[in-house]
């Protein structure tokens, strides 16, 4: 049963990320994936909040659905590194380097922020 909820939550997370990407691309037709960065930052922030918010509750199912399901679906590691690699191949070196370095830093900041909000 948990498995089904996790899948559904993951699907919802993915769709939210796609809608982000779609809206950004529609307004700024570009191959630059700042929507993915934003989705990763948001998902990591929610994960930071949820990790510490749900630490007291014994409800392991809710934890898995929110963290593994929704946050896991909302964030992506594959596009976060694959897209910069392709930009680098297309000679957008600075852009690729900026994406690779800012994503983890931004996510770490968001995680800590979410964590402090939960306390």
């Amino acid at each position: 049963m948990t498995l089904m909820f996790v899948s559904i939550a993951g699907a919802v997370g993915c769709v939210v990320r796609y809608v982000f990407e779609y809206l950004v691309r529609r307004n700024h037709p570009t191959s630059r994936p700042w929507a993915t960065v934003a989705a990763n930052a948001l998902g990591t922030g929610i994960a930071g909040y949820a990790t510490y918010r749900l630490i007291g509750t014994a409800d392991a199912q809710l934890r898995t659905v929110v963290l593994t399901g929704f946050c896991g679906g909302l964030t992506t590691f594959s596009s976060a590194l694959a897209v910069p690699a392709i930009l680098q191949r297309e000679h957008h070196w600075g852009y690729a380097a900026a994406l690779i370095t800012t994503t983890p830093l931004l996510c770490a900041g968001m995680f800590v922020m979410g964590m402090s909000l939960a306390h």
Binding site: G10, A85, I100
Partner: protein
């Protein structure tokens, strides 16, 4: 070909369905993978209780993420190269399946757990994660170069 960037409501609904299908499958596989516990193998009669920080390293998630980066780079560079971002195949495989399969947030949850034990170890794992991802991306690009 100019990518069609604005979709009709019907097309958008269909696109979201593709993403949801891929995402549900990817998330399911990741969740099942994360259930693999490498360290609570019973030895003798007792189950080992482990305080060593290296046992907190999320090897399964690292492996999933690294494979995900490799496949995504390979697909985007090769098979789906000329497909626009709203192409059904790309939505299903890259945005949905690989996006659901890999996780950035899960990584930070695990890194936070290591941080409480050792800050140096946490930074080491974080650096290793990014480097393994970069390595996988380079492999994904390289495979295409040989073929071309």
């Amino acid at each position: 070909m100019r990518p069609h960037i604005t979709l009709s409501p019907k097309q958008l609904g269909l696109a979201m369905l593709f993403v949801a299908l891929g995402g549900a499958t990817g998330t399911l596989i990741r969740d099942l993978g994360l259930k693999i516990n490498l360290y609570t193998i019973p030895r003798g009669s007792a189950t080992y209780e482990l305080a060593d920080w290296t046992h907190q390293i999320p090897w399964v998630l690292l492996a999933i993420n690294t494979i995900g980066v490799f496949v995504a780079t390979d697909l985007l560079r090769h098979r789906l190269r000329h497909h626009d971002p709203n192409d059904p195949m790309r939505l299903l495989l890259v945005t949905g399946f690989l996006g659901g399969l890999t996780s950035y947030s899960g990584l930070f949850v695990d890194l936070a757990a290591i941080w409480h034990l050792t800050i140096g170890g946490c930074l080491l794992v974080a650096a290793g994660t990014i480097l393994s991802g970069l390595f996988a991306a380079m492999l994904g690009l390289g495979r295409h170069r040989r073929r071309a």
